[in-house]
């Protein structure tokens, strides 16, 4: 009796394994085979191009390629990868410099006074203003984050020279490309949304990018 039970069980297990392997491997392969995939292929095809010849379609392709190409700025622009914290400086389609950067830390800081969100927004921006030797006006969150009392708006403790490095390029809404004194964090997502660069990279970016140059962030 017990022997029979084990025999039935073994046959059942083999059956289940057989069925599972069929469901997972054989039937999907069968679905992909020509036995299943019939009738989709059509001898003649259409996409609204009736009457056009090869030369005119190739001329259309050439026009479209030019149009697509025209989207790429001919002057300098920068691409920032916020996942790898890497920047790429281009002039036209030519990469002229790349290196590490630091971008937003993707954090929400909650305090008694409210919330502050720190991230680098993805999309395209323009350089709105360039400035050498910038002075950083510390916003309220900078004090909250350090566990300090928030001073009044014109308190001298709000102004810091050197923190932003030698240059800043403003991108709007308080976001900037600037330098840093925290060079050991370079390559990490540690900023409050700005893009930090090392000194030499910042200088190259500052000198290459003009007001109006595009900044592509992903």
């Amino acid at each position: 009796m017990i022997r029979n039970f084990f025999i039935y069980l073994a046959v059942l297990v083999v059956g289940i394994l057989f069925f599972a392997s069929m469901v997972l491997f054989v039937i999907p392969a069968f679905q992909e085979s020509t036995v299943a995939l019939v009738g989709l292929s059509s001898g003649s095809s259409g996409s609204g191009e009736e009457g056009k010849d090869k030369a005119s379609i190739e001329a259309d392709i050439s026009k479209l390629e030019k149009k697509l190409d025209s989207f790429t700025p001919t002057n300098a622009y920068i691409v920032v990868n916020t996942t790898d914290n890497h920047f790429f400086l281009y002039k036209g389609k030519k990469l002229i410099r790349d290196g590490m950067c630091s971008t937003g830390k993707n954090e929400k800081l909650i305090s008694a006074e409210g919330e502050n969100t720190f991230y680098t927004p993805k999309g395209v921006r323009k350089v709105l203003r360039k400035q050498p030797d910038p002075i950083w006006t510390k916003p309220d969150w900078a004090f909250k984050e350090e566990g300090l009392r928030v001073p009044s708006a014109r308190d001298p403790s709000r102004y810091e020279k050197g923190t932003l490095g030698k240059y800043k390029l403003e991108l709007g809404n308080g976001y900037m490309i600037h330098g840093t004194i925290y060079k050991r964090f370079m390559g990490q997502s540690v900023t409050h949304g700005c893009i930090r660069l090392l000194d030499a990279d910042l200088e190259a970016v500052y000198k290459t990018m003009e007001v109006g140059s595009k900044v592509y962030i992903y």
Binding site: N4, I7, Y8, V11, G15, I16, F18, F19, A20, V23, L24, I27, P28, F30, Q31, E32, V35, A36, L37, G39, L40, S41, S42, G43, S44, S45, G46, S47, G48, E49, E50, D53, K54, E58, D60, I61, L64, L68, S70, F71, T72, P73, Y77, N81, T82, T83, N106, L109, I110, S111, A112, K122, G123, V124, K144, E145, G147, K214, Y216, Y218
Partner: protein
């Protein structure tokens, strides 16, 4: 009496052996029957999907199929230009040139070489009307599933004093890098097919490693088996979803996942 008992025992053994064979035969036939039913339903599902694709392509004017390559290239460029009209980051995938690119306003902001790829037979069978109905305009992502967080966001309580602030900074620095992550993501498109992107650092890895990310494949297989029983019992067709699997370097798989908005546009050339 003794002899009879031996005969009884022998006949019992023969009877039991016969019954055992019968039960085994029933089990085998049941399994084969269930498998056949499921195979039939699965193939019907593929054909239904193909009929849907063909119906969607109905009505387009006919053209010379000798121009298919040129028209495909034209449709690909037109689709990318349409994508450039939007303000969001989009994805273009050229399986012929083995290139995957992030594009923003028509500018290529990330370009990665595809290391390995495979497509369902469904796509290999399509041409003409069906191809253009599927890939002639940008696709829209309907759903993301990923092995890593798409938008990682931490919520931090402001520290009470400078000592707590320093401790928070130290803790953040100590946090390990993301080196050991398995990067895999899956998207569903608005045109009844899916795409799987896996991060790999070598071709061998693409073939041998997790393929569908940690836990993904097991969960998916288990779901398939459970679903197959349900379909057999109800005699309903399982859904057939054609798939594209793309393997690219791990850091790029991650960067693309995090760059794309939730309803991102995607242009594909096969």
């Amino acid at each position: 009496m003794k002899e009879n008992s031996v005969e009884d025992f022998d006949s019992l053994f023969v009877k039991e052996s016969g019954r055992r064979k019968y039960v085994i035969l029933v089990i085998i036939l049941s399994v084969l029957g269930l498998t056949s039913v499921y195979t039939y339903l699965s193939i019907s599902a593929v054909r239904d999907q193909m009929n849907v694709a063909q119906d969607q392509a109905q009505g387009a004017p006919e053209i010379n199929s000798a121009l298919f390559t040129q028209l495909k290239e034209k449709a690909w460029l037109e689709s990318r230009i349409k994508m450039a009209a939007g303000d969001s980051i989009g994805l273009s995938i050229d399986l012929e040139q083995r290139l995957i690119q992030l594009e923003l306003k028509g500018v290529v902001i990330l370009s990665s070489k595809i290391r390995d790829s495979s497509i369902s037979g469904f796509f290999r069978k399509m041409d003409g009307n069906v191809y253009f109905a599927m890939f002639g305009t940008p696709l829209t992502i309907q759903q993301f599933k990923s092995s890593i967080a798409k938008n990682p966001f931490k919520i931090i309580q402001a520290p009470k004093d400078t000592i707590a602030a320093q401790a928070a900074i130290d803790a953040a620095i100590k946090k390990d890098s993301l080196k050991d992550e398995n990067v895999f993501w899956n998207v569903k498109f608005d045109r009844n097919f899916e795409m799987n992107i896996q991060g790999i650092d070598s071709i061998t890895e693409a073939q041998n490693k997790y393929k569908f990310g940690k836990g993904f494949e097991f969960a998916r297989n288990l779901k398939n088996i459970v679903n197959s029983f349900q379909h057999i019992l109800r005699f309903t067709k399982p859904s057939y979803t054609p798939e594209i699997l793309i393997s690219i370097p791990e850091n790029e798989a991650k960067a693309i996942l995090r760059a794309l908005p939730n309803k991102a546009s995607v242009t594909i050339k096969i």
